[in-house]
């Protein structure tokens, strides 16, 4: 693995960059307070990850993992399915625990596109387009296509199926209740407001946004842009390369698009876009965590509780036909 041989150097140098002290220059450890947030390009080498999946941002400790998110997705659907099954409906017949692995894979792909495309395997086939497998294994089914009785059973709105008592709030409400009982805060408001559950997500988005206009990131984009010019590609940032109308207006990737996306990733590695983004985003996230330390400590407890609830609920669910026991 690319990082393996450089771990010590990378970790030490990252510490130097984050401390704003510049270890090589011998600046005092007392100096960081005078350093503007994430605005001081460091001459010290930064980590050189070849994938965003190789590093851990500070806010990750305050959020569910991709696997836990996928488990929560699966559990919500499985609980609805079990409830509707008791009422005589075959809901989500294609659902299986394979959905968890699929969810993680798709999240990984989305993560790889945080700073523009960076998954060399995907771009060899799809260029800047989203891989076709990101749709998942099922075909989308509109909720409006459910029959009136099934809709009523799912939502609790409308006439209940004859002779079959529907739980309060329907099977959706029942599933949410069971998740909550297990310590999984499924119904918590997650957008807007000052709810604790929005804290990490809001800080994450802010750190991303601030980083993109920071001097170190602008500098690494300039290096990336210069690298691209050697191939005859003229883009200011990896995002403008992805946004080229030649790609966005085409339903399928052209040979030129795939070639350009390949150059893009090669230049990302040469300029170390991922490493610089990691350092800068980490710094913004650390500042956000420090600024609201008590609130983030609460969030960490909530996440720990949810993780425990997920493990317990996954283990307690009846195994689906044709499958082995649930993962623990």
């Amino acid at each position: 693995m690319r990082l393996g041989g450089t771990t010590i150097l990378a970790v030490m140098s990252l510490g130097c960059v984050l401390a704003g002290a510049g270890c090589a220059s011998g600046r005092s450890a007392a100096a960081p307070a005078a350093v503007r947030p994430a605005s001081t390009p460091s001459a010290a080498p930064t980590p050189t990850p070849s994938s965003v999946l190789q590093y851990q941002l500070p806010l990750a400790a305050y959020q569910l993992t991709a696997l836990q998110n996928a488990e929560e997705d699966y559990l919500a659907q499985r609980l609805e399915q079990l409830c509707l099954g008791k009422l005589g409906f075959s809901f989500l017949p294609g659902l299986s625990e394979k959905a968890i692995a699929q969810g993680v894979r798709i999240t990984d792909e989305f993560e790889s596109r945080l700073y523009g495309v960076s998954d060399p395997v995907a771009v060899r086939t799809y260029g800047y387009h989203l891989p076709s497998w990101a749709q998942g294994t099922g075909k989308p089914v509109s909720a409006a296509d459910l029959g009136a009785a099934e809709w009523a059973a799912l939502t609790g709105n409308g006439p209940a199926p004859a002779g079959r008592p529907v739980p309060r709030g329907g099977c959706s409400g029942q599933a949410e209740h069971e998740l909550q009982q297990a310590g999984i805060n499924a119904t918590t408001q997650r957008s807007g407001g000052s709810d604790l559950s929005t804290l990490a997500g809001s800080a994450q988005l802010a750190s991303f946004e601030h980083a993109q206009s920071s001097p170190p990131v602008r500098a690494v984009f300039a290096r990336w842009s210069a690298c691209m010019r050697r191939y005859g590609d003229h883009y200011a940032t990896p995002f403008t390369a992805a946004a080229d109308p030649r790609w966005t207006r085409s339903a399928t990737p052209s040979r030129l698009e795939i070639q350009t996306a390949g150059h893009d990733i090669g230049c990302k590695f040469r300029a170390n876009v991922l490493g610089v983004e990691f350092v800068v985003v980490s710094r913004y996230q650390d500042q956000a965590i420090t600024a609201r330390a008590a609130a983030f400590a609460q969030v960490k407890k909530i996440i720990a509780s949810e993780a425990l609830g997920l493990r317990r609920l996954m283990a307690s669910l009846p195994t689906q036909p044709g499958q082995n026991a649930a993962p623990s």
Binding site: G15, P140, F239
Partner: protein, 159 residues
């Protein structure tokens, strides 16, 4: 059985800060000799707020919709197309605030009207940058970074 993938731990800034405070040389040794834990990562922002089904999007049978205003108010646009690398639509002339305006960089809430797919919108075209997402049959308000700043959208992860 799902196996947690073992990935190399670079270490977070917070962890590094702790390590460096205790002695910089300790960190690499720990990182190199201990089993690497499953890496936790931020995964966009889940914006589920309430159950979908009562909005115009649900009634009209679209897989997903974007709304000009928060809480699924205002003009709205829906689609059954899996991907829009760049959102090129305009809000229809429906006598609601925002009608006739471009959808891209102009929406405040989003709805997932499928029973089996997630819906995701990204800050940049072709599904790049940070993102907001919804679980099946939920709607939510876009976060401040994505509000009036969404460029691409897809339904995905269908089961």
């Amino acid at each position: 059985m799902i196996k947690r993938r073992q990935r190399f731990l670079v270490a977070s800034a917070a962890v590094l800060g702790t390590f460096l405070g205790a002695g910089a040389m300790t960190a690499p040794a720990m990182a190199g000799t201990h089993p690497a834990p499953a890496v936790q990562r931020a995964t966009g922002t889940l914006i589920d707020r309430a159950f979908e089904g009562e909005t115009n999007c649900g009634v009209s049978g679209w897989h997903y919709c974007l709304f000009y205003s928060q809480n699924t108010y205002g003009a709205w646009w829906g689609s059954n197309q899996q991907n829009f690398g760049t959102i090129t639509a305009t809000f229809p002339l429906d006598h609601n605030p925002g009608q006739g305006q471009p959808v891209r960089n102009n929406a405040a809430s989003m709805a997932d009207n499928t029973e089996n797919c997630n819906v995701t919108t990204w800050v940049y075209p072709n599904f790049t940058g940070d993102f907001n997402w919804l679980k099946p049959m939920w709607w939510g308000n876009l976060t401040s970074t994505l509000r009036n700043n969404e460029a691409s959208i897809s339904y995905n992860n269908c089961t």
